[in-house]
């Protein structure tokens, strides 16, 4: 393998390879091997499984034929697409209005409103489902709003999805709308273009790529999410829940693999499309652009303030209801407040699950940050093995396109093969940590790369000529300088590991039962109030961690990042 890559290297260089170079090459290969064994191998064993029968014989596309000839299963494809498109449309519209309010108006309370929209990020996606049952279920407070329609089904899924996906989409929208050139607006004004015309000829085109990117993100998140349809989907089947149903309900692993492949397709497609679109965006903002600064406009400011407040109240209502429900004795017949729902032992769950989650999230944060950031460093600042480093970068992008359920299932297939030397991590905390690190790899990788790009590569060049090993440069220069990004990644990993259900649902064992999964199990067994209580516990924990991170980074920034402002 090495000789193949070396062909691209000038022979004169190969002679001068120092010990440091060898170490770096070794480390790069280890990084590639890591993703090879934790991502590519499991995924390929899943593909293989989808082409086998129950006894493990190769049967070609028979399973797929069975799948597509089964109208009930096939219907889920249509259902998933319908849900994803509807939710994407609604959430994009709302997020665009909200982002417009934040970036283009002088409405009051922007910071607070923005901060409150982030709340859904800190809860498992099961939480909106549970909350909607209390709000709009058959015994719900606002049941009348639905005019006799049931919340269990597409309506519930779409509402829940919008809640859960909103912050993700909003972040992209705000960025897209912030990057606008004030000169264009000036030109429009000079040319006496109407506000409507300006909106369609200036505002929309400049935010075009953001809009497209946000749509793809929303679409992918919705079509791959499992938590919301699991809780509130009722009789409405979607792909993500079908995988679970096939595997856990019916022990049909082949069909689970088939549905996984089917679910993988739209996710991969939308991911590639998004990548292509983003490549085009690079040159949008020229160096001479003047940032747009909104000017006060009473009507407009009030209108958008109203819209944003409505959105935020909806978010607060959903979260507030879950919190309230977690303290109710016996909904709806006894609404006296109690702490009893937090006594998880009573419903066959345990506080241990919560501590397991904490432990796992901490490991994911520590190990994940270390691995991802160091790998990103190799990709961005490494000197040797250009093609291998590109490969590493490419591999780092894949997890984004792989739905959690698919990754989780493929881990069973790969790690529980008899004869796999890594089999010993099956049913341990280690496999959960590994799976979560890989599941959330891409975003962390991109954050790291962005942060690393900001650091001049002269550091590497200088230290290399001073014969300082690259790892010393990494430890002494790169890491301290990138501390804000590193902290952000670790918090991102912690929060996601705390809230995720989809990937780990196939991998936990009774010793490593997690809080988020117990939310699902308690809801499944009908202990909705306790499920709400555990979900609230997760939310509070994540908020506390985020708060600590915020305080800490304020402090750290002043201490370590002083060089940024001279």
């Amino acid at each position: 393998m090495i000789s193949v890559w070396n062909r691209n290297v000038n022979p004169a260089d190969t002679v001068r390879l120092s010990k440091d170079d060898y170490i770096q090459r070794g480390v790069i290969l280890i990084a590639v091997a890591f993703l090879f064994f934790t991502l590519l191998m499991p995924l390929s064993s899943m593909l293989v499984k989808s082409l086998q029968n129950a006894d493990g014989d190769f049967v070609g596309l028979v399973n797929f034929a069975t799948y597509f000839s089964n109208p009930v299963l096939f219907e889920s494809v249509a259902n998933s697409l319908q849900i994803a498109l509807t939710s994407t449309f609604i959430v994009i519209t709302l997020a665009f209005l909200f982002a417009y309010g934040l970036t283009r108006t002088c409405m009051p309370g922007k910071k607070t409103l923005r901060a409150l929209t982030l709340l859904p990020l800190f809860a498992p996606s099961l939480l909106p489902g549970i909350s909607l049952i209390y709000l709009l279920g058959n015994q719900g407070i606002f049941k009348g709003v639905l005019f006799g329609e049931t919340i269990y089904g597409p309506i519930g899924i779409v509402i829940g999805m919008c809640f859960w996906v909103f912050p993700h989409v909003l972040m992209i929208m705000v960025t897209a709308l912030s990057n606008s050139d004030a000169r264009l607006y000036e030109a429009a004004r000079v040319m006496k273009a109407s506000p409507v015309r300006t909106f369609f000829t200036v505002t929309l085109p400049s935010a075009k790529y953001g809009l497209i990117s946000a749509s793809f993100v929303a679409f992918t998140l919705v079509i791959t999410d499992f938590g919301v349809p699991k809780v509130i989907g009722g009789e409405f089947n979607v792909l993500a829940t079908d995988i679970y149903k096939q595997v856990v309900g019916q022990q049909n692993f082949q069909m689970g693999a088939v549905v996984s492949v089917v679910l993988l397709l739209p996710a991969v497609f939308s991911f590639i499309a998004d990548r292509l679109v983003q490549k085009k965006q690079v040159a949008m903002l020229s160096a001479r652009a003047v940032p747009f600064v909104p000017s006060p406009h009473k009507m407009k400011d009030r209108l958008f303030f109203g819209i944003c407040c409505l959105v935020v109240s909806a978010i607060l209502l959903v979260i507030g209801m879950a919190v309230y429900a977690s303290f109710i004795t016996f909904w709806p017949y006894n609404t006296a407040l109690t702490l009893n729902n937090y006594n998880f032992e009573e419903v066959g769950a345990s506080w241990d699950f919560y501590f397991n989650s904490l432990e796992m999230a901490a490991w994911v944060a520590v190990i994940g940050t270390a691995v991802v950031f160091f790998n990103a460093y190799l990709v961005e600042k490494g000197r040797a093995f250009e093609p291998v480093r590109n490969l590493l970068h490419l591999m780092a992008m894949i997890p984004m396109a792989v739905p959690g359920m698919v990754l989780g299932l493929s881990y069973i297939f790969f790690f529980n093969q008899p004869g796999n030397p890594l089999n010993f991590i099956y049913a341990t905390m280690a496999i959960l940590v590994l799976n979560s690190v890989v599941h959330f790899y891409t975003v962390c990788h991109l954050t790291s790369v962005t942060a690393l790009k900001q650091i001049d590569s002269e550091f590497e060049a200088v230290s290399s000529s001073l014969k300082v090993p690259f790892y010393a440069t990494f430890w002494k220069v790169t890491l301290p300088v990138s501390l804000p990004a590193v902290l952000e990644i670790s918090v991102y990993l912690f929060v996601n590991a705390m809230t995720t259900v989809s990937a780990v649902v196939f991998l936990y064992s009774s010793d490593t039962m997690l809080a988020s999964i117990s939310v699902m199990n308690m809801d499944e067994a009908g202990n909705t109030a306790s499920a709400a209580a555990m979900a609230v516990l997760i939310l509070v924990t994540c908020l506390a961690v985020k708060g600590t991170h915020w305080l800490l980074s304020q402090k750290l920034l002043t201490v370590t990042q002083g060089w940024r402002n001279r």
Partner: protein
């Protein structure tokens, strides 16, 4: 010099204690036991067992019936469990069919009622207790919607109950499957499917778990949940406005059973656990939650259960149910799966 000696001493001490710890650990056999028992039952069950066999430590792996079964099947080529203690007999029959169980006749098996043991001369599994289907009927919601209390399975198909009945999906829930298989056995196949067609018109949705319909009825999300008696009795005890209804045509039931997983390297310990699982003492323990247990004469009546529980139980043919399981489920799914809970 002194320091070096000290280090040596500490090292010696550490090694010594490690060897000691290892030998202690070796003396205790650890059995990995897969189960679908209720969580609160695990500790007392293990404790009772350890009173007789203190040198065997039980390591529980607990989940719901469907999941434990799926786990066992998934691990078929690389079994992780030593023993299964407390899983539906229909599930164990599936495992038996896959040749995954180690036949063993525990000491005293002749004492069990014949229903509660594998008919083979060298039985692959032994029964513990039986759980039976029941309807959870929410009296408050029923009054609100003007629903009379049903007394039979046939009642549930009346138009008045349309949209007020929830039942578990037989594909994922052991309780759901015992309902379906009992209808097919009681009414005959044609009439059974005909009954389900009519019932399907009234079903609001099918849930993944067997206890959820009863929980939903207890919370007023539905008026009638087709579930099992143990759950209903439990919820009623907690103050839910429920009446338990035992349809007069007869009740489907399944039993919890125990078996040794083939390939275990702890055969001796596994046999001891099987011996214990069918003792009179163990059956008395099962009777705390279940009205019908495998050891004749042990069972005492339990509150909220009908006194004649055993008489209501149909003559359930487990072998038939297990062998037809796949066929029944695919027919069921083709007919009704559109209304199923996600998952």
């Amino acid at each position: 010099m002194k320091l070096v000696n000290q280090i040596k001493l500490v090292a010696l001490g550490l090694t010594g204690s490690m060897v000691l710890a290892a030998s202690v650990a070796q003396a205790q056999t650890e059995l990995k036991v897969y189960t679908a028992l209720e969580t609160e039952q695990l500790k007392p069950y293990a404790k009772a067992f350890n009173e007789q066999y203190p040198d065997i430590k039980i390591k529980w792996v607990r989940d719901s019936t469907g999941i434990v079964t799926a786990k066992l099947l998934a691990e078929k080529n690389n079994p992780q469990a030593d023993v299964v203690w407390g899983l539906a007999a229909t599930s164990l029959l599936v495992l038996k069919e896959q040749n995954m169980l180690q036949p063993y006749a525990p000491k005293g098996i002749e004492m069990l009622s014949p229903k509660f043991r594998d008919a083979d001369a060298n039985p692959s599994w032994v029964g513990m207790d039986a759980w039976m289907g029941a309807l959870c009927f929410n009296t408050i919601e029923a009054k609100k919607h003007g629903l009379p209390k049903p007394t039979s399975w046939e009642d549930l198909t009346k138009p008045v109950y349309k949209g007020h009945v929830i039942m578990p999906n037989p594909a994922s829930s052991g309780t759901g499957f015992l309902d379906v298989s009992s209808w097919l056995q009681m009414f005959g196949e044609d009439k059974g499917w005909g009954y389900m067609d009519r019932l399907h018109n009234n079903i609001a949705r099918y849930t993944h778990s067997g206890s959820k319909p009863c929980k939903l009825a207890a919370a007023g999300e539905t008026a009638i949940g087709i579930s099992f008696a143990y759950k209903g009795a439990n919820l009623k005890k907690k103050g839910a406005p429920l009446d338990l209804v035992f349809p007069q045509e007869g009740l489907g039931w399944d039993m919890e059973a125990a078996a040794i997983v083939k390939g275990t390297d702890k055969m001796d310990a596994a046999k001891k656990l099987m011996d214990f699982a069918i003792t009179k003492q163990a059956n008395e323990m099962y009777n705390k939650s279940f009205a019908v247990v495998g050891y004749p004469g042990v069972a005492k009546p339990i509150p909220h259960y009908p006194a004649d529980a055993e008489a209501l139980m149909i003559d359930n043919n487990f072998e038939w149910a297990a062998s037809k399981r796949k066929e029944i489920l695919s027919t069921w799914q083709a007919r009704y799966d559109g209304k199923s809970d996600p998952k």
